[in-house]
Amino acid sequence: MIVKQVSIFLENSKGRLAEVTRVLAKERVDIRALSLADTSDFGVLRIIVNRPDRCLEVLKEHGFVARTTEVVAVEVEDRPGGMSRVLDALDEAGLNVEYMYAYVAKAGENAVVICKIDEREKALAVLEKKGIPTISAAGLEAL
């Protein structure tokens, strides 16, 4: 299923990441998964949180450039070949994964990965056809 990710622009300078987490802690926004991509100048922090809309609002109030992005939360069997099965299915359908990262909690026996895919609806259909479960925002919250 499709979930909302919050993406934040960060300059590569001391204390910027800490500033984000400080702001979110104060608002009691819970970070459930996180990935940081960076270059030598700047980074993009991507997070899955319990209250994405409030999270975005509060970051903007503090002067951060941030936006929400729709991503897909996919359940992956926690055994060798589990990830490969997911990516093969997407690859066969000609879908490109821009980036992905793991979610902290497991869904039963399965791990959860967050994937950025341009054609989200098509990806969901492909995964469903292959019997690969995806998980909703509410589902993630319940883990």
Binding site: Q5, F9, L10, E11
Partner: protein, 432 residues
């Protein structure tokens, strides 16, 4: 609207005759009354009787800023101090300030030239002019003030800074005309957005922005964000302050009040006059000033002149908006770079806001040029490669124009200092 059709639409021949005549009296007065100019003319081997008109102007010596400074405070006065009713000076940040001493007649000329300026942008006695240029020794505040008074508008002399108050006044008094530096106009627009103010609820319709060079793209930003027509105005303390030249409704070059301030363009290196249309240093002669008249002042501003007819009806010559300064010009790896070129490119890229800074440094004997551009919601993407694409797009456009490699760095919003006066766009860290 044309404030003074008698002078602003004077047929060319008559205008030239008037200028010839005025130049003659100027040279005469300077030779008789100011030791400094007499010595310079003697050294150049020119006597007042040799000057029959504008055609003889290139034979007269230039005046430079350093010379004006060395005359501080009163050496360049052409009248008795008791005739002087007001004095302004340049900031003096780089040395002794330049003194501009006005007689009552000079203040009248100033009000006249600013009345022409404001009228050209459509301001009338029905307007409420919020004057956010600094009041004081700086000429911006009072120059606009006198012009606005002359056309009978209502002036709010708020001066520069105090942004919250600026917005309050704008809303409560229904300001229709804003006057300030272009960078402060952008700063006000940003503050408005933050306060959730919409320009639709304000009465703003025209803005007169000057005292620093700006670009067409910056005009687009200002007009869109403040909901007004933005007019470029030009002037300098050494000549009179604002009121030397101004844009009309066509926003296509600045009409020079050439019956009062005669413009020439010269090659900055050799001082030789350049033909119309060719870029060079602007040189101005004050034709009617009484207190501190000046002969062929080297402004260090780069522009070119256009004598073609303007559909507004004015017959006065137009100067292109400033293209840079001879002293702002950066020489990076031997290449002449004008900050205005960089601005033009940066602001031409979709989504980029006019908050940028140019940093020049020298590492291992090699100059480096870094351009910092602030990130904003329109530019931001959650994918690194899109952001890197933005950086390399700006880099390649800069390379195409400047022919040197720059490093573009995206920075967080508000990391580049905002200005309430002239923006500090360039940081030159080189120690040469």
């Amino acid at each position: 609207m044309i404030w003074n059709p008698d002078y602003e639409t004077l047929p060319k021949g008559e205008l030239t005759r008037l200028q010839d005549e005025r130049l003659g009296s100027l040279v005469d007065a300077l030779y008789r009354r100011v030791e400094f100019f007499r010595a310079k003319m003697d050294a150049a081997g020119v006597k007042p009787r040799d000057i029959r008109g504008l055609a003889d102007l290139p034979g007269l010596p230039f005046t430079t800023k350093d010379e004006l400074r060395s005359g501080y405070p009163f050496e360049l006065l052409a009248v008795d101090l008791k005739e002087i009713v007001e004095i302004h000076t340049s900031s003096g940040t780089t040395g002794k300030p330049v003194v501009d001493a006005y007689t009552a007649g000079d203040l009248d000329t100033w009000a006249e030239s600013m009345a022409r300026t404001l009228s050209a942008g459509g301001a009338t006695r029905h307007d409420i002019v919020q004057n956010a240029y600094g009041y004081g020794l700086f000429t911006g505040g009072l120059g606009v003030h006198y012009g606005a008074r002359r056309i009978g508008a209502t002036v709010l002399p708020i001066s520069g800074g105090n942004t919250k108050r600026q917005l309050e006044l704008m809303r409560d008094f229904g300001t229709t005309v804003l006057t300030c530096t272009p960078s402060y106009a952008l700063y006000l627009a940003e503050a408005m957005r933050e306060e959730g103010m919409s320009t639709g609820n304000l009465g703003l319709r025209a803005g007169f922005f000057g005292a620093e060079p700006w670009s067409d793209n910056m005009r687009v930003e200002i007009q869109a964000n403040l909901g007004l027509s933005a007019y470029d105005i030009y002037g300098l303390t050494e000549i009179i302050g604002p009121g030397v030249a101004f844009e009309c409704e066509n926003q296509d070059g600045l009409h020079v009040n050439e019956d009062l301030f005669f413009p020439e363009i010269v090659d900055p290196a050799t001082g030789r006059p350049l033909p119309d249309g060719q870029k060079g240093e602007l040189v101005i002669t004050t034709l009617t000033k009484q207190g501190t008249p000046i002969l062929r002042y080297r402004t260090r501003d780069i522009t070119y002149l256009d004598r073609s007819a303007c559909s507004c009806g004015r017959t006065t010559i137009r100067m292109h908006r400033l293209l840079g300064r001879t002293d702002d010009m950066l020489i990076v790896r031997g290449v002449n770079v004008f900050p205005s070129q960089i601005e033009e490119i940066i602001l031409g890229i979709e989504g980029v806001e006019p908050h940028y800074q140019i940093i020049v440094d020298r590492r291992n004997q090699l100059d480096s040029l870094e351009v910092q551009v602030e990130m904003n919601e329109r530019l931001f993407s959650d994918e690194i490669r899109n952001l890197e694409h933005t950086e390399s797009l700006i880099e390649s456009r800069l390379y195409a124009t400047l022919n040197i490699h720059t490093r573009v760095k995206l920075v967080e919003p508000k990391t580049i200092a905002r200005s309430e006066g002239k923006a500090k766009r360039i940081i030159d860290k080189r120690q040469i």
